[in-house]
Amino acid sequence: MSVAVVAAADDVQPRLSMREVSRRRAIKRFKWSILSPLIALMGFVLLPVLFLQLYFSLHQWTVYLGSWWDADWVGLDLFKEVLTDPRFGWAAVRSLMFATGSTIGCFLMGFALAYLMYKPFRGQALYYIIFILPMLTVPVVVAYTAEMMLYQSGPINDAITRIIGIEFKPAWLTNPHIALPTVMLLEIWNWTPFSFIIMLAGLSSIPKEPIEAAEILGASKWRIFWEVQIPLLRPVIFLALILRFLEAMAEFPKTWALLQGGPGTATETLPVYIFITTWQYFQISKGAAMSYIVMVMMVVIVLIAIRILRQEKQTLDTVYGNKAAGNSGSGS
């Protein structure tokens, strides 16, 4: 009997393989049909722009003198100039501070809201709409509205003064020490919904079994949160942090509309400085070199992020793969 079964299995194996081969081919075809328009877009739209940028960053072109194709070759001089420009260095520091602060703020607020919202309750949809409203507000409108609210004698300071009973009058937008944190707060208000949506999706997709098992074993809510939910959410958390960080590094409309890099240079972040260099100073070549340096910086961040995400996924796969194997083993 067993010999016959083995023989039959041997007959089926090649047929299954052919089906598998054909399935894999179909998947491959599907992948290429999705990817080829993107590759074409890259080839015809993005690459020429990148090459043009590269051309400008290697040539010194002054807008007032002649055509850009007559520009002088300067090699890597502009890259050296940018990397030794203290104003660029400070702009990078401000951008990193801004992105880090606002990413952490958005994440904490977004996660807290998502945690409150992930179990269904009556009227949940209304709260959901309210929570995502800031993200639907145009950043420039956020900036102008905030400007009116944040005057020293404006409604925010007035409300806080009334609540705490002591005169509270910080100059949110004109004190160089707090101007950047103020824009950071606006960014957090504007983009918390983004983290909220991602974390809500993450929380909703956590399998119930591990939580129920922990509850049966008598674990406290805090322990369940810290030792079951957080580890399961780690890939989603990383994704939320990385996407938000990249977005925050590129924040321009609010900073520009509110303060144009001022007071002094307190809010001169990388996008603001690149804009000023390119479109106020018309140093197109230096602006191109700056953009390349920032692009390389961002690519490095993205590569690290992808690596971390893969590791997280592998860890989870290993844990659940092993657990699944262990469970089925113990069950047999």
Binding site: V63, P263, G264, W279
Partner: protein, 480 residues
Amino acid sequence: MTKSKISRRTFVEGGVGLTVANFLPGTTPLAFAASMEESTIAAAKTAGAADVTGMIWSPYLVPMQPVIADFKKATGIGIGGVQDISIFDAPQRAMAEALSRSPQFDFIHIDSNMIPSLASAGYLEPLDEYMKKANFKIEAVADYANFMTYKGQTYGIPTDGNVHIQYVRKDLIENSDNKKRFADKHGKELKFPETWEDEFRIQQALMDPAKDLYGSGSLRNRANGPTWWYMMFYSAGGFTFDDDMNATLNTPAGQYALEIYLQEKKVAHPESAGWGTPQMIPRIAQGHVVTCQYWDGTAKLNENPAKSKTTGNWLYGLVPGSDFSGKRIHRSISSPLAAILINKYSPRKAQAAYLALWLGSGKNSIPIVSDPVNTFNDAWAKEHMKSEAVQKAYSPAGIKAIEANFQVVAPPTYLTGFLEFQDTLGKNLSEAYVGQLPAKDVLKKTDEEWNAIVGRIGRTKLKADLASYKAVMPKRNVPV
């Protein structure tokens, strides 16, 4: 009485002779002299009907619309579509247009201080030929028409004078208690300030922060600060560059101007470091300011009771001057001075040019500059100064102040690279104002940065620009 001896034959011969002479080329019969507006229409008709497109901020365009409609009726030339872009953002957009040599806009309405940069980038159409054909002259007050020229050619037609005038609260300065207090403290009469030092004393004496009344309403933010600093610098006898295009800000005149500029922090609102026009204009009109230099259009707003709480409570006059150089010099400033410039790459540049001339005639622009609601276009033409409608909008004292300040008005750096020079100075002044940069380093740093800009744009090129810049500077130190 003597009887003249003219025979009938002589009389008839003379009549025939005059009639013939009337049609000889080169003789312009007085009885039939066409006005500037009529000749603009005649010249525009030769260009053919068209709807031109442009880049203009809507508050400037709205009061122009009836005047444009008249031109459309007469010539078939009107406005098709416009892109509504703020005058503060227009320079960047215009330079992008220049870089791409785009024919998208037939005209742009922009700060005339951009003329050197845009002309150097090859974007601007000279207007002299069109002006000649239309027998058109920019009939501006004093030498103000020079602001439209660069390297001997005319590139712009003004629509907005935008000169700074001095504002002083009449009710406060004429108050007898204030007068006594001021005289007791300073041993001087409290009166309209003549120098920067006078103004600072008045601001200190009359401000009362407890009542939300601050001494100064002048701007100190990064974008606008340089406009005020230039007035102080020029009035101290300073000039931005030597003949070899080396920056000369870090001089005794520059340091004096910086001191005056920064000391105002003591009498300004604590948030002044970040405030621009949207914040300051309401404060001026609502009575929270003792004195300031400001664009002349604010006088129109102050004198409009529907929009102001201080109507009738202002004195207008010449901006303060300085004796620092050993002689009294007053320097007002016009920045941004809005003007219409024509795109060289436009297929409808002739039509756009004639439309600009039409809008820039003294007579046609009276309703534009006297609009009491859309107050962005300010008086600049000789004809405006005599017009009843304009006088009503600004008050006679306002118009007198405008006329006086036009006689001593100067531009900021009227050079290719204007925005770059302006922002660098603005950044450093702003850093000093908020305490990020020691005052002693501001001008040294700005000189270094300006010299680097000169190197980038080209010393030889900028040396050639310098003549145009100097030609725009006022010839008088004190108005007559």
